[in-house]
């Protein structure tokens, strides 16, 4: 059972996804400052996806 987990991931592999998340959420933080309307919608999407991802990760493992 431990064989496939024994391979160590590199720093790049570990931080690739978090980096994308950080960039998207930073864009979301800034966009609502820049303008209204569509800019707000971009912000809601970019920041709203964070709690959704969290729930997805928790639920996916619970049901599997």
């Amino acid at each position: 059972m431990n064989s496939h987990r024994a391979t160590h991931r590199t720093l790049m592999q570990i931080f690739a996804a978090p980096l994308v998340v950080a960039i998207v959420s930073t864009a979301g933080l800034i966009s609502a400052l820049v303008g209204d309307g569509w800019w707000d919608a971009v912000s809601w999407t970019a920041l709203g996806v964070l709690p959704l991802l969290y729930l997805m990760f928790i639920w996916r493992r619970k049901t599997s």
């Binding site: 987990r5 024994a6 391979t7 160590h8 991931r9 720093l11 570990i14 931080f15 690739a16 996804a17 978090p18 998340v21 950080a22 960039i23 959420s25 930073t26 933080l29 609502a32 400052l33 820049v34 303008g35 209204d36 800019w39 707000d40 912000s43 809601w44 920041l47 709203g48 964070l50 709690p51 991802l53 969290y54 997805m56 990760f57 928790i58 996916r60 493992r61 619970k62």
Partner: protein
């Protein structure tokens, strides 16, 4: 930190909570484009309701375009934080009410959140806590790497013991929210320096702008404040008045009205530009953009409060705040667990998983 997250939660919705808990006299509903009342008349009506007081500031209500606050103090030099706020109808110039905010739930939450009722020392203490939070977040990123060496992004080991599950929850929520918590944490720290930044501005730019008038006294009969606002608005096209500081107050010289104007996009509406109007002649004497350190403070306010993208953004802010509480809670648990065991979390996890495996193989 938990206190800050918990008191911050209701503050996101302070307007809605105030509306719900406290009845306010509503300003008259008017069609869009109705001109504002003459500010001199509005001021006279406000002062009639507060005999013996003097006006410090006129403030346009950000949240309600139909009302204006008149901030009055005992004397022109009295501490403005002890001022009374009088709500006025901006279009009819009628007196609405002068509510006492200090007993309100949102006010108590605000004080707990900003200075724990301890004034500037309280603010600076919480600012220091904020810096420590940022340090903790960054150290969290550093220790994220070793704990994720063998796991893929977002792994949640649901069938394992609590210490493993909570470590996964801590890691998932922590790494997802890292940008948001850093921004809200650091802009919160900047907000604790607001008093100092304003002092810096008073002794810097404001005293430069008013240096040649410093020997003047507060005029006995100042010119029209309504005219002063019109002069300022004409001098700075494209901007509208946000608040007016009367001669002799902290934000002006002894003989000027300081009219602070703001722009009309979400960003520029946060940036103020002062225009000084001589209260003896009614003429504009100077207007400048504020220095970078004041602008930084103004921009960091919406990024901390989350009040710049409508109700959906406020709700997202609240959800992310709850997730932050979860991160803090699981973090405290993991730390206590480690202290109790006298070993690293990794070690206790290894132990726990050995027990898990034993349980699994025996069943």
């Amino acid at each position: 930190m938990l206190l800050l997250c918990i008191t911050g939660l209701p503050l996101i919705f302070h307007e809605e909570i105030d509306d719900l808990l406290h009845s306010q006299v509503k300003a008259a509903e008017v069609p869009a484009g109705t001109p504002q009342a003459n500010l001199d008349k509005l001021l006279a009506n406000a002062m009639a309701s507060a005999p013996g007081k003097v006006p410090h500031f006129l403030v346009w209500d950000r949240d309600d375009p139909n009302t204006m606050f008149v901030s009055v103090g005992a004397t022109i030099t009295s501490d403005p934080s002890k001022n009374t706020l009088i709500r006025m109808d901006l279009h009819t110039a009628a007196f609405l009410d002068a509510p006492d905010f200090t007993g309100r739930f949102t006010y108590i939450m605000l004080r707990l959140h900003t200075d724990m009722f301890a004034g500037l020392p309280g603010k600076l203490f919480l600012g220091l806590m904020g810096i420590l939070l940022c340090v903790a977040i960054i150290s969290g990123i550093v220790v994220y790497a070793p704990s994720m060496r063998k796991l893929s992004f977002g792994t949640y080991r649901a069938r394992r013991t609590r210490v493993v599950r909570w470590l996964d929850v801590h890691n998932i929520a922590g790494i997802l929210l890292v940008a948001w918590t850093l921004v809200v944490g650091f802009t919160g720290v900047i907000n604790t320096w607001a008093d100092l930044v304003l002092k810096l501005w008073q002794f810097g730019q404001l005293s430069e702008m008013t240096a040649q008038y410093q020997d003047r006294a507060v005029p006995a009969k100042p010119t029209s404040v309504d005219a002063a606002v019109k002069v300022a608005a004409e001098a700075v096209p494209g901007m509208t008045a946000s608040f007016v500081a009367f001669p002799g107050t902290l934000f002006s010289s002894k003989s000027h009205y300081a009219v602070f104007l703001h722009g009309d996009t979400p960003l520029t509406s946060r940036l103020l530009k002062p225009a000084l109007i001589d209260a003896e002649t009614g003429k504009l004497t100077d207007t400048r953009d504020m220095p970078w350190y004041v602008s930084t403070l103004f921009i960091s306010q919406p990024l901390h409060f989350g009040d710049y993208g409508g109700m959906p953004l406020k709700i997202i802010w609240a959800v992310l705040d709850v997730l932050t509480i979860i991160i803090l809670w699981t973090g405290v648990y993991l730390w206590l667990r480690r202290r109790k065991a006298g070993v690293t979390v990794e070690r206790s996890i290894a132990k726990a998983s050995a027990v898990d495996n034993a349980a699994l193989t025996s069943s």
